[in-house]
């Protein structure tokens, strides 16, 4: 590896990643937050984070940090942005790259989550968070909302098969607004890649609700999505 003088005269920084981890449970959108049982800011609420290492890309660091907490790999993640205020971390200067992740709460490793002292917290009932983590969450929510209206990322939060009521409740949680049931179902019916299965979910009603699933192969044929 060549080193030019050019680089040497410049300072280096700790670079961290912080994860805004979305989950969906019982009609509510949750975030996985740490009640920190370690330094710094012990006892306070924070996002799951970690430092970028020499041998990994920033994206890979985010995946690693997410996997350390949840045990999951191949999770949908998207970069939110970089937070680079000089004193955002009062301990040391740290530049942090925020990512949001969407996952199915039931697939996460409950033992790991417990070991980190992490909790799923309703997104409408968030505690105060350290540093600029609340700001990161705000940006992540906006980005996620926009993406969810234009791309089929909602299925990352749901089980493989789901009812239309579940799907609607998820969108209502994302948008923070109610949606008309008939209009919603009309739009879904137009999306041929949201397929009826022959299974019925009886867990929330006596009549039972048809289970649907997302067919990504069919989606890839034209990639039109709009809710």
């Amino acid at each position: 590896m060549t080193s030019y003088n050019y680089y040497l005269q410049n300072p280096k920084f700790y670079v961290a990643v912080d994860c805004i981890i979305f989950g969906f449970n019982e009609g509510e959108l949750d975030l996985l937050l740490l009640k920190r049982n370690f330094q710094p800011a012990q006892g306070e609420w924070s996002l799951m984070g970690g430092f970028v290492q020499e041998n990994e890309s920033v994206d890979d660091a985010a995946k690693r940090v997410l996997s350390e907490l949840t045990g999951l790999t191949n999770v949908y993640m998207e970069q939110v942005g970089t937070f680079g205020q000089v004193s955002r971390d009062p301990g040391e200067r740290v530049i942090s790259v925020a990512y949001y992740a969407l996952l199915n709460i039931n697939e996460s490793d409950k033992e790991l989550v417990e070991r980190y002292n992490a909790f799923w917290v309703n997104i409408n009932d968030l505690p105060e968070l350290i540093f600029d983590h609340s700001q990161m969450i705000g940006q992540a929510r906006n980005l996620m909302r926009i993406k969810a209206s234009n791309a089929p990322i909602c299925f990352e939060l749901l089980p493989k098969s789901f009812t239309l009521t579940q799907l609607q409740k998820l969108y209502e949680a994302i948008y923070g607004d109610t949606i008309d049931k008939r209009n919603f179902r009309k739009r879904i019916a137009e999306m041929k890649y949201i397929e009826k299965t022959d299974k019925i979910d009886k867990s929330t009603s006596k009549r039972g609700a048809v289970l649907y699933r997302f067919n990504n192969k069919v989606y890839c044929k034209n990639k039109k999505f709009k809710i």
Copy 2:
């Protein structure tokens, strides 16, 4: 400043900023690119960039770097994202945060631009660029297009007063598509913050075209914008 062991065991990185600088001239959208007369990658095309310093935020570094090239401060800038592949810069590991900037070409310091060996290049006719700079530009264009359709950022690229034909040509350049003149003007007419002035521009037609200006105070009253 307190140092915890926590930080010390982690590596540090060079952090750079790269600027995607948009300008608008004669109906065409341009980017300000460097034909590098310095190391590394001398002789190749690149974005204007620089390293984050100890005493400045990442956002401030982007502003400084932009100002070094253009002489301009108070320029509209937005973060595009962070590029953190391990070997994106073959010289040394550098994590780079990309920003896009919108400015009026005529306000930039031509002498400085020349000294840096920088050129305004039509966005549809870009050269090959070093590292991941083409990817940065791609993301910046997408982001800018979306923003321009939802917020009045287009005026950053225009002189204080402008004709409706200029404004339409700008949007056509941003969207890479033609727009119906009557429909466009109808939409503009609904935006009370795009105000007629009593001036006429005679530079592009014998008849002359009315000059308009953007009134930010009026805009701030309801902040609705959609083109």
